[in-house]
Symmetry: C2
């Protein structure tokens, strides 16, 4: 070969950061309110200590190491340390309900579970159902009983561990996503996909991250790698500010005290932040760039940021896309746009960076035009897009690499993608999916229910909550309470509809299917009674 062929490895990211950005800080604001400081240099050394400690516990290349933890520096160390021993770091979402937690930890066959003390009740409650987990390790508390202590394990090592030999196609991370039906599915990230994603993400038209950036990933590390930020930050030596709490006051204080320039999170965080800012009169500090993902940013929020001279942009993606699929960027003719045109632009989901390709197709998989008018199922492919779910028998992408995102979108002639609807009939609540169909099927079993439709309606904290529309059987004696009681042991508690609304009829297609799009349209501005009361 004429040029060199070093593999693209996650370990090279931490080696680079530790070597070239040794003194740049990593700040952790813990659940107990304390703040600790580390550096990329120390994270690099601690990652080697972590790998050494895991190796002593018998953990080896290919093993899964799970975390049940908020954002903090120890969590970051575990990511890189696991990568360096060839492990697969499995970030578990502590907000999942018990059945899901048990399912995914068993499906992943995690051998280690590292967790924050705040999640001790979950561990205590579920540990008997987790036979593969040999080691339970507390991230942020001393050892107790057979729970080991991260700090004690790390403290016993000298940091001279040599990374194991790795191929760039080796797996390095695992994150489960709740599908529309059936069990959660695992997305298994590779070294190569993570590294290409990291280099891509730092570019001016994506996250615009440099050595001067101070990044507060409000998005949890258990949500699609915190959108890749811990990897991107290592690439350029950005300062990272982690918070185990998403309380507005806490975040606002961190933004001011640490000089945060970039934040990334769901839009709902900003509702509380704006309320806090309005109450206290405090400003943005050095904050310059707000990245919004998870769900669409309300137009009023976009306008407020823009009027305050804060660069706001949508990131669109999913666990299966590492997660950057598109990013709102200021186009080359930005300066010539009116304020409203700018808001229109920002309100869309943005453009694919080099590496990913988008297309929209109709129900017969025919490719639709990028005319800004025709909507179709959004598909995506590229080197950081899923090929196959963990331990699945079939590919998730077709033979050409196209992965169906479950969103319905149109693509404008200038390449800007705009989500217009959802192909998969799901309700997005707290970053997870509730299957409308499963909810409806369960409701159909309730006495007196003739037909039911579940739709997601806006909720400021959860993004969406389900509302169940019910057509009663003629003469049936049925109430909201009777339906909710019936559903209680059929579905997860967090799936229970916030309201049951009785209607005379539901709209249908010509072939008799529920017209979900119309229902979503009809209820898009519906205000939950629980909110009206608050």
């Amino acid at each position: 070969m004429s040029m060199q062929g070093q593999p693209l490895l996650v370990t090279s990211l931490i080696d680079h950061a530790a070597r070239e950005h040794a003194s740049r800080e990593i700040v952790s604001r813990w659940a107990d309110g304390s703040v600790t400081r580390s550096t990329w240099g120390e994270v690099g050394k601690d990652a080697r200590r972590f790998a050494a400690a895991m190796t002593k516990l018998g953990i080896a290349k290919g093993d899964r190491i799970a975390t049940l933890a908020m954002n903090h520096g120890h969590h970051l160390v575990s990511w890189y340390g696991s990568a360096g021993l060839g492990g697969v770091l499995h970030t578990v979402n502590p907000r999942l309900f018990d059945e899901q937690l048990v399912y995914i930890i068993n499906h992943a066959a995690d051998r280690v579970l590292l967790f924050d003390a705040m999640f001790l009740p979950i561990v205590e409650r579920l540990r008997d159902q987790l036979p593969t987990v040999e080691h339970f390790i507390l991230f942020d508390a001393p050892a107790q009983g057979d729970y080991k202590s991260y700090r004690e394990l790390i403290g016993a090592e000298d940091g001279r561990f040599q990374w194991v030999d790795l191929d760039e196609r080796d797996p390095v991370g695992l994150c489960y996503t709740s599908g529309t039906t059936g069990n959660p599915k695992g997305v298994l990230y590779e070294h190569r996909s993570n590294v290409i994603h990291a280099i891509t993400e730092i570019q001016p038209d994506v996250f615009d991250m440099s050595n001067r950036s101070v990044v507060l990933p409000i998005v949890p590390m258990f949500h699609a790698n915190s959108w890749g930020i811990p990897f991107a930050a290592a690439t350029v030596g950005a300062k990272l500010v982690f918070s185990a709490s998403n309380d507005a006051q806490v975040l606002c204080d961190l933004i001011h005290n640490e000089g945060v320039t970039h934040s990334a999170g769901v839009p709902t965080v900003w509702i509380a932040m704006f309320a806090h800012m309005d109450k206290t009169g405090i400003g943005y500090g050095k904050l310059a760039r707000v990245i919004i993902g998870g769900s669409a940013c309300p137009r009023a929020m976009i306008e407020r940021f823009m009027k305050d001279d804060i660069e706001v942009a949508h990131a669109w993606g999913m666990t299966e896309t590492s997660p950057i699929g598109t990013m709102g960027k200021r186009p080359w003719n930005w300066d010539a746009m009116s304020f409203d045109e700018k808001v229109d632009n920002v309100a869309k989901q943005g453009c694919p960076p080099f590496g990913v390709e988008l297309r929209i197709v109709d129900d017969e998989d025919q490719i639709l035009p990028r005319d800004g008018e025709t909507s179709g199922r959004l598909q995506i492919r590229g080197p950081w897009i899923i090929q196959r779910y963990y331990r699945a028998d079939e590919d998730a992408a077709d033979e050409d690499g196209w992965f169906d995102t479950g969103d319905v979108a149109l693509i404008h002639p200038d390449g800007v993608m705009q989500i217009t609807d959802r192909a998969k009939d799901v309700i997005k609540s707290g970053g997870e999916w509730i299957s409308s169909i499963e909810l409806e099927n369960a409701a159909l079993g309730a006495p007196g229910v003739q037909e039911a439709a579940a739709v997601g309606v806006y909720h400021p904290k959860w993004d969406e909550r389900p509302v169940l529309l019910v057509v009663k059987k003629p003469g049936a004696d049925v109430s909201e309470a009777s339906i909710t009681a019936y559903l209680g042991d059929k579905i997860a508690k967090w799936w229970l509809p916030d309201e049951v609304i009785f209607v005379d009829a539901l709209p249908h297609t010509a072939t008799g299917k529920l017209l979900k799009r119309q229902l979503r349209e009809d209820y898009k501005d519906y205000r939950l009674k629980s909110l009206a009361a608050a």
Copy 2:
């Protein structure tokens, strides 16, 4: 595999640019003063036309296609079109002397030579010595004799050519570099190395290129891929402004008329630009970022840019490094620095982006500390660094990938690299190397010469020109004219020293070698008589 494995291809760069940035302009200012406009969309289509036309001429995967051309849109098309048929685009430097041109075209066994009409005299003079070249094609003029016309060839095709199947490790580009001794050596770029380099280059701490950037690569396309700019620009859909002339007035007009935001070139270009600006009172327009490479930017020039609020930064690298090895970046504590500290920072060569590693070693290859004080031979490795020269029998890098750059440097504790001297005894003139040792050896043959030393002294146009220091044999009748006449047919004309200076003695090491470092130091402020007269 769990994630997708699309290869990293140069063809994907042009496909992305043509699809996502179709209307973004590519401007060419030709040698005759005319300006033409194309777009990334048209370049993408023309590249397919080019590939189809070459295929009809019998050119196939692996074949070398040479260009002898300045910067313009047709040249850009040939890069991407050649990549798409699996060809190797060989950029030939028209400033080389005839022997070098003949050597490298024969060594590369180029089957096609595309050239600008302004280089017709070179082609006419040398074509009989270029037996492998089957097709001579004029980029910017109608067909004449057996010289074909690029525009006619392209015009006959429909742009529906399908790219051939490619592996990311396939070669795609070739650029020769004049070594210190012996014949020029070819650096064979691969798809993977070019693509990783392109994604790396756009980041804020390197070129900081986005869709809004308007980039004027003053550096020629035959110099290390114009520092990779034509690839980086496709990645983000930047507007490119090409000029076949580097005349200050022409460049200044383009900067103003086209809204240029980024320029990249050698520092000497800016001496003429500043003179033009001082004379006319014209400003920088929208220019925001000036990237300086090829040789060190004088401190006074850095200060002028900084006072004028232009971001100026060094790029350091070489043909063998694609070429970015380091880049001057604003460190995280930039705002806290004094003006002088900032200038000190910018005057150094900068930091390696993620992907490349640097080290300095002593004469026994022992690694030296990054203490900002100890100088050593600078070595580099990474996925866009050379492994082996084209058709060489041995690797250019050692078994760990370390490639010796020929520079002597120190590395500061914060990772900033600073060139302090040159390990290889060369004089850099017009972007090419003159071997001091070969020049000295030739001079030693001249009657009356006892000892000779060649050193490079500053020249505003050529960066450096050679001066020959001569100790006469006792009683010899020898003059500048006699030595120059003797050298006339021994070395290339452009190697002839600008001055011969007679000295009583030359400094030596304890073992009797010439103390070149001291001579370079003694003559670093030497002013050539030809300049004093001007």
